[in-house]
Every structure is written in C-alpha cells, then in structure tokens.
Amino acid sequence: MSASRLWQSLDDLNGGQSEAEVSGLDPLPDNELSRRQFLKLLSASAALAAVAAGCRRPDHKLVPAVSAPEYQVPGLPLFYTTVFQHKNAAYGLVVKCREGRPIKIEGNPSHPINHGASSIHAQALLYTLYDPDRIRRVRLGQLLQAPLSQALKEIATALQKTAAEGKLCYLCIDEHSSPTYDALLAELQRRFPWLRGVILPSFLTDTAAELNARVLGLPAEIVPHLGRASVIVTVEADPLGIDRYALWHIRNFAHGRRLRSRHDKMNRLIAVESMMTVTGTNADTRLRMHPAAFEGFLAALLVEIARSRPVPGPILRAAAQLPHAYAEKAQQLARELLQAGEQGVVLVGAHLPEPLHALALAINWALGSVGDGKVLDPAYTLPNSFPKRPGIERLREDLRAGRVGAVLFVNVNPFYSADWELRQLLRNVPWRVALSLYHDETAAESWVHIPVAHPLESWGDALAVDGSLSIQQPLIAPLNEGIGSAQDILLQLARMLDPESFPGVETYYDFLRQRWQQRYGLSEPQWESLLREGVYTAVPRETLPLRFDAPALAGAIRPSGLGREGLLAVALPSYALYDGSLANCPWLQELPDPVTKLTWDNVAAMSPGTAARLGLQSEDLVQLRAGETVVTLPVWVQPGMADGVVVTTLGYGRTEGGEVLKAVGQNTYGLLPQQQLGYVSVSLTPLGKRYPLATTQRHAQLVGRPIVQVTTLPEYHSPEGPRFQQPEFPGYPAPDGRYRIPLTIVPPYEYKGHRWGMVIDLTACTGCSACVIACQAENNIPTVGKEQVRRGREMHWIRIDRYYLGSVDEPRVVHQPMLCQHCENAPCENVCPVAATTHSPEGLNEMTYNRCVGTRYCLNNCPYKVRRFNFLNYHTDTRPPLEMLFNPEVTVRMRGVMEKCTFCVQRINEAKWHARDEGRERVRDGEVLTACQQACPAGAIVFGDLNDPQSQVAQLRQSDRGYFVLEELNVRPSITYLAKVWNAPAEEVHQLRTA
C-alpha cells in the first residue's frame, strides 16, 4: 500500500476495511444491551433530565441588534439595545458585549432622542455595573451574608405585623420614567391598602410643574424643543448642562447652528445668569446679572413684548408693578424675541422662584411658543414630573403622627440628602428596609439591606420625553449572586404577603411582558424586533388640551423674594455626580467640570469681585451658614459670575457606599430651602485655612495666541468674510488649495490608501465632555485620584480646553477638545530613541506600548501636550470584578509607558477587516466612528478618510472656517478645527481681538 496514493477516507485508504479492523481493535459487540441495562439507562437519563430542567432558571430570550451577528462567536462582539434612565429622562442605548460581558455603552442610533449619542452618565453606567463596591450579599440586621429568602420572609412578617397594627408602610422610590414600574406600584398599592408609594427625590424641582398645573392645567414640566427655537433666552436655566435631557438639548441646539456654508442660518442663545453655567459658556450673548434683578428684567421684557403682542391685562398689570431692571437690554432682547415670534423662548432655571417662571410663561405664551408643534410642546412633557412635594408632605405628616410602621427605600438615599427633620422622623420608623446597589447612608440606617440588580442586569422599560418607549434588557446575569432587580424583589415580597397576588407572574419580566401584551398586543416576532430596534414609537400619545388661566398666572407674578443684601447661595446638582447617586464612579469624580475644570471636589464658586471684597482667593476655606446649616467649602474664584452670589454643587460629601466617594467634597444638601433647589441667603466666615483643589487646567487665557479662532455670524456672512487671526509663516499652497504648507525641504509623504483625519467644530462643541468618558471607557484609561490630578497627571486622552476671552468679569468662553493631532510631521516620533512611536502609512501616529521605555521625550516635544505618561502603575488597585470592564481590544498599559489617543485604531482595524471580508478595498465613509465622535451629542467631531474626496471629513476640511492649531510649526496635524462662530453683534468680537 503506497502512502502517496490518493485517498478520500480511511476506508478508502485501507482498501475497504473499517478503522476498527485496521487498528486491530475488537469490533463493538453488536447488540448486547440487555433489558436491565436498557431500563437502568432509561431511568437515569429521565432523572438527569428532570434535575436539569428543574434547576434551570427560566430563559428569557435576548435579541441582539440587527447590525450584529446573530449568535455569539468568540472574539466577536454582540450588540444589545437597552435604555438608560437618568432619573425621569430616558434615552436608548446599544451595549457592546464581548464573551457575555458588556464592555462599552453607546447611544442607540435608532432612538429619536439621542440618535446614537450618549452622555457622561450613560457611559458611567458601565462602571457602576462592575463597581467592586457594589454589595453582593443581603445584610439582615447584624447578619452580613443572609440568604435572600430569609430576609424576605422576615420583611414579610414585619410588614404583616405593621399592617395588623393598622400602620402604614411607605415605599420610597426615586424619580424614574418607567410606565411598567408605575403600573407595578399601582398594583401593589391596590393589593395592599396599607402600602403607600412616594417618589422621594434627592431634591425637588416642582416650581414649573406646580405653575403649569395651575395655569395650563398640565401638572408637569414641558421640555423645550430647542430644535424649533431660533432665539433662546435662558435665565439661569442650564439646558446644555445639568438638565436631565441635556443630551437632547445639545443635539437640537447644535442642529440649529450647523454652519456648512456661509449662507447657513444660526440660532441665537442669550444667557442671563449670575453664575457660570455650561449653557452660559455657550451663549452668543451673555448677560451677567444678580438674581435679584431677574424679576425686574423679565417684567421689563414682558412689558416690551406686550407693546406688540396681546398680553392679558391682569398679567401686564402685575408685571408693570414690579420694579424694572436692565430696561435697555430688555428692549433689545424683546426686539429679537418678537422677530423670532413663536421661535423665541425664555427658559427659567428650575431653582428660581415661581414669579420668574410665571413671567417667562407669560412671555412665551405671548410669543406663541407654547402649544402643539411649538418650542414648548405639551407633547414633550417630562414623564413623572408632577409636583412631588404633596407626596412628601403626606409622608412627613404620617411620620409625625406615628402612622408609619415600615419604610422600604428603593434606590433612594434620604439619609444622605433629606433634611434633618425627615431623617429624624425616618429613624423613628421601626422597620426600615433598603434596596439599593450600594450599602449607602440609607442602607446603613436600615435593618435590612438587599443589594438589587443593576439596570444592565435587569428588565424594565422607559418612556422618553417624545413618547417613545424602550425596553431595558439585561446584558449579563446579576453579579450580586443572582439577586434580582428591585421590582423583582417587590414582586417576591408581594407573593409572600399574598400568594394570590400577581397571577401568572413569576418575575418582573413576566409582569413587563404581560403589561406590554395587554397594552400594545405585541406578537413574539414584534417583541423580538422591538428588542432589536430598541425603541417603540407606535404609542398613542395622551396629550391634554392646554388651557391658559391668565388670572392664575397674574397671581403668580409677584416679587420673587430674592434680595440684593448679603450673599445669596445656591446648591445645584453637580455636572458629573448629579445628585450624588453616582458618586462612587471615579470616571465621573475625575471628569473635569466643563466650566471650572475641577475634579474630586465641590466648591463655593464666587465672582472675582466678591472674592476680592471678602479678601478671599481660590482654595481658601470658608463656612457658609444658612439658618441652622453650616457648610465648610473651599472658595473657587469663577470669572463671569455676578457679585454677591455663591454657587455650590450637590452630590459630594457622601460618607457610606464605597471606597471612591469617601472624603470627597462636602454635603451641601443643607443649603436647599425645603429640599427644593433654590437660593438662600447665607453668611460667610473665612476660616483662614487652605484646602487644596485639583483642577486640570490652571490657565484659561489665550495670551494672544491664535489657538482658537473666533468670529461672529454677521462677520462670517459679510462679503469680506471673517477676519481670523492667522499665524504668519513662509509657505506655499498645499495641493488641496485650501491650506498653506510652511516652507520645507522635505517632500511630503504620499498617503496611498486611507489617510485618517478628523474635523472638530468649535461652534457645535458645548463642552459636555461625553467624549472624555466615552474615550475613557473605550480605551481602558485609568483614573488617577485627586492627588495625582493635583500633580497634573490625569490620563484623559481627550480633554476639553476651556479658554476665557475678554475681561475676567464678562468673559466669552470657548471649549476646545484637544487630543492627539496625529501630525504628519510628528515631533514626538523623531525624538523617541527606541522607535516606540511611529507613523503609520495611513497617517496615524502610533504608540507601541511594549517598546516604550519611558524617556518622556515625546511628551516634552509634543506642542499640544496630549501625550499621557503612566507615572505610576494606575491599574494596581483594580479590584475584581473591575477587570471585566476592560475593553479586550485595547492594551492595558503598565507604569512607565507613554500613551495617547490612537484615533481608536482598534475600530479602524475592525472596519478594515469587515471591508476585506466583503471584498472591498476601502472602508466606507462613516464605517469607523471613534469613541468620542460616537458619543458626541452635538455632532462636533467628524472622523474619516481624507483621501476620499467624498467623505464628510474631507469636505468639512475645506470649510472656510477650517484651521489647524499651531499650523506654523509645520507639524501638519490631521485634525482640522472649525472656527467658533457666535451669533452676536460683530463689535463684540472685535473688542476681544483688540483687547
């Protein structure tokens, strides 16, 4: 038998003999299975099958998004849609999973609110999923690792006892936007009359809803649709900053100022404020004003508008009685608003008193911007934004009267945020049960703590402001040893109390399916396609017809009560931590505030004038005293603020619930007047001590350098075009004809295939910093802690540089995202002695981590200082399960190694593989999205192939607003910036240039 003979099977090879025959083994006995053996096998397999079936948890089918492969292939990601709830705001997400673990959160491109964009909070959701400080075991009294069933049994017994005593049980929940959760609570309250649900938010923002209820008959907040507005006046409103729908507002706002050609129109944002909000930093015109002047200003505005528009007499009379302020400015503004008509809108901050809301409502009504299809559209009411105070007052009453026998805290933390009286009253309740992710202040004060599942581990749904519904899908089995979501726990508890309740419902998933089945009648394929798409828009919208109760509105127009004497203080939700529930996320703690660029602390921000008057400077410790409350805070001198105002932020000063949040900032909830956001008058005592603060940007002036180029819309529209401050250098025209290349003797490198590049539109960027966190999540960027930030060692690959132009009192602000510019002539590359940073043939400046020895010469030679050095081993304290958070496609860097933006090279390579698989030579435009670009709600970042003349990035690069930062250095960056355009009178920017 020749070995070289062709053969097709072993039988063939062996000349028709079977394998067994060849190998010399005995062939298997033909049919020796006896009756006894047969029965043994039969019974054993039946028993096994029964055990296996009995032990399995019921399967819920997860359906991946359409663009992803149908089933899990190791090494390939799967994408699932879900929904993110930021309190009662909601928007769609797509979560990228690798080998069954979520590794990156993106916005859902099909969701009508965010269209694929995401926010810092949505990105941070991923961290909280893997947060090592999440509790995994039930605590029952002193018993630290109690079984869930035992805890539930004891809670049920306690509740039954309470009910038998005729006492109430309160169920305190946080603000949310889930209709099914509401249905569950309603059903529970129906079933158990002694159970009362109450929404107990960290702080109240009832003013607008209360006013709307009285005047419009709509007990809710209306979320403005900024895409429909052409002139937006904000009075300390912060739609682009701390607003829950900031992401949607940024998108709509940016949409109204997308300058693609010289003839494009642009919306106009006028911010009237005493503090420096993110919205204020983006204003075309900013009016610095003490809060006491707001009423006079708005009244003057209303009176001016009433000259051209009908305003009901009582309202006008009420407004005319108020002392007017800033009449000249009001006159100008009225002219602009009248010109905009129903596209003009005045928005008032949630922390301002009712008279100001009333004046704004009167103005908006007069302008015609309230109504169907208008800026303030009743179809866009914020879910669950009804006034919360009555419910809380009822809770307080019941507590005072001793009628409450038990309280269940579901993801709320009143022992951190509530006032002293409420905390004392709650402490007197015999049975306190906490259901939350962390063992927080409230859990510490509770008898039982049940660690509930994370939103990425549990089912749910959410209603967005536009009326679209989304399903919250779990992406991973609960990491807390399989304990379900709060809703699951409530259901289990209900079934223990009353086995008859919730027929046919085992879990919250069943309840959800049942409710959706009843309401929307979705078939199985429709349900699957809903999960795939992530959004259900075919919901009939229930809108109430608006009425307009002029006398009620006139009654609300009265002096606001904000005085000029002394100091006014206000505590607002912090940009990153919001109300403090996210305080254990180091990504957010280390995110520089878009305005102050501070990390890891809250401060008492005041104007330079106030600080000078009080003899204070940044980092001086002061005591703020409001009534009984004393808060000690470091001072931060904030340019652009009005004198006599102190602004601080909530969400800091947590004491329980994790390792990250400890000793970070001060609890400022005591400064809230009756738990409502608002101004209080305070007295300030300097303590004569200093407190170090960690800011990521210590210099904010441009010192005359052409780093950001600015112009105004009139100048941009003028025939001569904008007069940018161009750097002068000898050079010659580049092949594209648009730019000049500094004189050089080296012939330019010719990019044959792709040539990656980016365009960043400074007019669109609002500084929201979603890109920073998205980049951090995508690229395994460590957080370094306050001490290291103070030393200037933060690791963010993309940072937002914030510059003040003009005077310290009335600055204009520009946000400039700064990341590796991927220079053609990269100065970092030629100085590396070991060739660890090199240029790719596609124009990327690449970093080879495992070749880097850490001379740091590249960092010294980088004119943009965007390289980041691992001064210490920032990953050593990665506690399990945080290692699951890492993106497996990106190296985790050790200490002593330089790193920086890669233009998400892992995403580029993935797109190239797909292109190759499909037989394409080139990656299509838009196929690669960098993490920052994908997150950006403003669409300010565009990435793509500069060698493809049809690509968006190549076309935008030709824009007449385009420029390179530090062009004269001949480093030839791959990133083009588009100049900042303000829709403001041209003289204002002329002044800046000459100043």
Partner: protein, 469 residues
C-alpha cells in the same frame, strides 16, 4: 619623537626669571614622592573618616531613593504632564558639565603646553570620571521602565528592532559612553608611572600586590617613558574633540526639539562654555579642599588658583553672552512663543531661579577681574560653589521654564520636586564625594611624575630659578 615630549620634560619656559615657579617650597623630587605617596601609606585622620561616613551616608540615602523610584515608578517624583523632565535631566546635564573640566585640563591644556595643569590634572580627571558616572545614572533611572534601558543601545536582537538614530537620546548614549571610556583610559594611562611609584613606596603586602598589578610592570625605563608619552599625546588628541562633542550632543537633546526655549542654535557652544565653566568651578572646590586637608599648598599654588579663576571669568562671560543672545534672538525672531518663554523665564513663576542663575554665573565671576580676589582662597572657594549653584540653575531654568509653559496655555503647570528627587541628587553628591575621597586616599592625587618634571630641580639651570625664588 623625543621633541614632542619636550614640553613636559624640559622646562625652558620656567627658567624665565619673571615667571612664577609652579612648585613652591624648594621641594626635591623625593619630597614630592614623600608628600603624595605617604597619603596612601599612613593611616587616615579622623577627619577623613568622618567626611567619608557623611558622604557614604548621603550615597546610601540616594541609592535608597533610587531603589524606591525604580520599585514604585517615576510618579514618586514631582514631574507632571507638561514638565516631564525636571531635576533628573537637570542633574544629568550638570554632572556632565562638571565632567568637562577633567578632559579640558588633561587634554587641551596638555596640547597647549599649559604646564601648570600638572598639579590639578589628576584630581580633575578623577572628578571627570566620577561626575560622568553620576551623570550617567540619571538617564538610566529617569526611564519609566529602567530595566529596558539597554534598548537604547543598538544591538542585534530577535525582535529585529533597531534604535531610532534620529533621536538625540541615542546620540547621547554614544557621546556619554565614549567620553566615559576615553576619560577612564586617559586617567589610567597617566596613573601608571605614579602607581609604580606608590608600589615602590608602600610596604604592606596587599596594597603592594594591588599597586604592582595596576602599575602594569612599569619600571620607568626610557622605553616605557617614550611609549607612555606618545600614548598620552595620542589620547590627548582623541579626547580634545570630545570636550566639544559631548556637551554639544547633550545640548542637542534640547536644540533638536521644537520647544520654544530649547529649539536654539546657540546651544552647542553655549553648553560647552557652560560645561567648562562649571567644571573648573568644581575642580576649584575640590582642589581647594584637598590643598587644605592634605597640605598641598606648595604644589597647588596660588598661581594655579589664579589661572583657574581666569578661566572662570572667561567662560562666565561667554555664558553671560549666551544669556543675552538668547533674549535678543527671542525678541528679534518675532516668534511670540519664543518671546513668551524668555519673558516668562525672567519674570514668570521661576524668575527666582533665573535671577539666581544670572547672579551666580554672570555677576560672581566679575570679581576675578581683580588679581587680589583671584588669589584669595576664601573668595575663590565661595565663588566656585556659587558658580556650581548657578550652573545647576542654568540647566533647571532651561529645562523646566521651557516645559512648564509651552504652546497651549491650557496645559501649563508648575513643577516642584519631591523629597525623592532631592534625595537622589544629594545621593549623587554623596557618591561623587565618596568616590573622590577614596581616590584621594588610595590613588596619588597629584601626578607625581609630572610635577617632578616641572620642579625647579628638573631644570637644567636649576640654580637660576632657585635664586629668583
């Protein structure tokens, strides 16, 4: 060939009656041998041991700080994002600069027949080697991953990775290692006749064996002397260009970059002048101590000190010229970044460092226009230390003030060292002085053979000089 060696062996010039003799006290060759070689033989004083224990302690403390850095990371230093080099590279350049005087004295002054150099060349060369060792430490330990430092050397490897020859840091590796190698060879070659002298002098067995080994069988034969002189001359010729090249290459670390304040064509000559300046200052510091402790006033005379002070004056003014020129060019260039860096240097947050530098390097050497002050040991000693301080600040100012405020104001920051950086610097001072003290004890601190050659006794008309003296 004999005539080439003439400048050293013959002493015609010193016969001139108006010339001050280089060695005082009418010492005979035997006296010289006694004076120098006995240091090796006789037990050291308690002062010596006290000093050695202090410097040794400092060295140990520095080594601990280095170990701590390597174990933990560069993060224990005060460096930050814009300022990625601080005390580490400042110290590197400072030590390298100090290491310059040795070669200059040994090689260039030798070629220029400056025979007064013989009294100080040995200690200057030793100082060079120790300073370069200290300097070389910094580029190694300042790496993020120092265990891969050998990647900076081009060697064939399985990774098929080569160094990046465009990087000035690679040039540094070559420049510094070459300089160290040549300096050691030069020093050792000059030592051989003296080691033989000591070998003959000592009586204890172990030292004798060691000196015998290291003197390579030198017996002072005419052939030995002939070969020695030629080899010495050749090495001097090889070393001379190194004096210029090493610090020029070190200055390329800065001038090749694009950073305003670093990207300056004046750097190579400016750095060389500064190096000679600081090198001579350090030689003066050491020699004045040695002269006082070891009673060498007759060999290291005021004339030597005077000569060295003249060099200080000359190089100090070169450095001052460079400071002025930098400002002028920055203003003249019209480059706003460049202008800003220089204004910031003088009037920014590091202004104190700048003015310390100007005072020490430009103002203090002006004292030496006066012959009286040039010959005043105390004034010279203080000035030499001030110059070393000033030259340290010069490097600090160049490195840190340029980095801390560069192009984008958003990335500006301030830098201050931590205790670890200070400890490492003190540690290198400890290492340096420990090595120098060991050298002073166990190796002839004065080039015995060369000094003998310039004794009045060595002159053919010895009595003429004697009469004048």
């Amino acid at each position: 060939m004999a005539h080439i060696a003439e400048p050293v062996t013959a002493a015609r010039l010193d016969q001139e009656p108006f010339r001050e003799p280089l060695v005082l006290g009418d010492l005979t060759p035997h006296d010289i041998t006694e004076k120098i070689a006995s240091i090796v033989e006789r037990p050291a004083s308690w002062k010596y041991w006290l000093t050695l224990s202090i410097t040794g302690l400092a060295a140990a403390w520095g080594i601990f700080a280095i170990g701590y850095t390597i174990a933990t990371g560069i993060g224990v230093w005060g460096l930050n994002n814009p300022v990625a080099w601080g005390w580490d590279i400042t110290n590197f350049v400072w030590w390298i600069g100090i290491g310059h005087a040795g070669t200059l004295i040994s090689a260039i002054l030798h070629l220029f027949r400056q025979r007064w150099r013989t009294a100080i060349n040995r200690s200057a060369e030793a100082m060079t080697i120790f300073a370069v060792l200290c300097a070389g430490l910094f580029p190694l330990i300042h790496l993020g991953r120092p265990w891969f430092a050998y990647w900076l050397i081009p060697y064939p490897n399985q990774m098929q990775m080569w160094v990046n020859f465009r990087s000035p840091l690679v040039w540094d590796v070559f420049a510094v290692t070459t300089y160290l190698t040549v300096s050691i060879l030069f020093w050792y070659l000059g030592l051989i006749p003296d080691l033989a002298t000591v070998r003959n002098y000592v009586r204890r067995r172990l030292p004798k064996a060691l000196y015998t080994f290291f003197s390579l069988g030198w017996v002072g034969a005419a052939r030995h002397w002939q070969h020695y002189e030629i080899a010495y001359l050749i090495l001097a010729a090889i070393s001379t260009p190194l004096v210029l090249s090493v610090h020029s290459v070190v200055s390329f670390d800065f001038s090749v970059s694009i950073l305003p304040g670093w990207h300056t064509t004046i750097f190579p000559p400016y750095f060389v002048a500064g190096a000679i300046f600081s090198g001579f200052a350090m030689v003066l510091t050491l020699v004045l101590i040695a002269r006082w402790v070891l009673n060498l006033q007759d060999i290291i005379t005021l004339k030597h000190i005077d000569n060295m002070n003249r060099i200080l004056l000359a190089t100090g003014m070169m450095v001052g010229y460079a400071y002025l020129m930098e400002f002028f060019v920055a203003m003249y260039s019209g480059n706003e970044y460049e202008r800003y860096v220089f204004l910031n240097r003088a009037f920014g947050p590091y202004g104190w460092a700048y003015w310390t530098m100007v005072f020490c390097n430009v103002a203090v050497p002006q004292l030496f226009w006066s012959r009286r002050l040039r010959r005043n040991v105390v004034v010279t000693f203080i000035a030499s230390i001030l110059v070393n301080v000033g030259m340290w600040f010069e490097r600090f100012v160049i490195i840190v003030t340029s980095l801390h405020r560069d192009f984008l104001p958003a990335s500006w920051d301030y830098y201050a060292p931590t205790w670890v950086e200070v400890s490492i610097y003190i540690g290198t001072l400890g290492i340096f002085f420990t090595l120098f003290l060991l050298f002073a004890k166990y190796i002839p601190i004065i080039a015995i053979s060369e000094v003998k050659a310039i004794l009045p006794h060595a002159q053919p008309k010895h009595h003429v000089g004697a009469e004048v003296a």
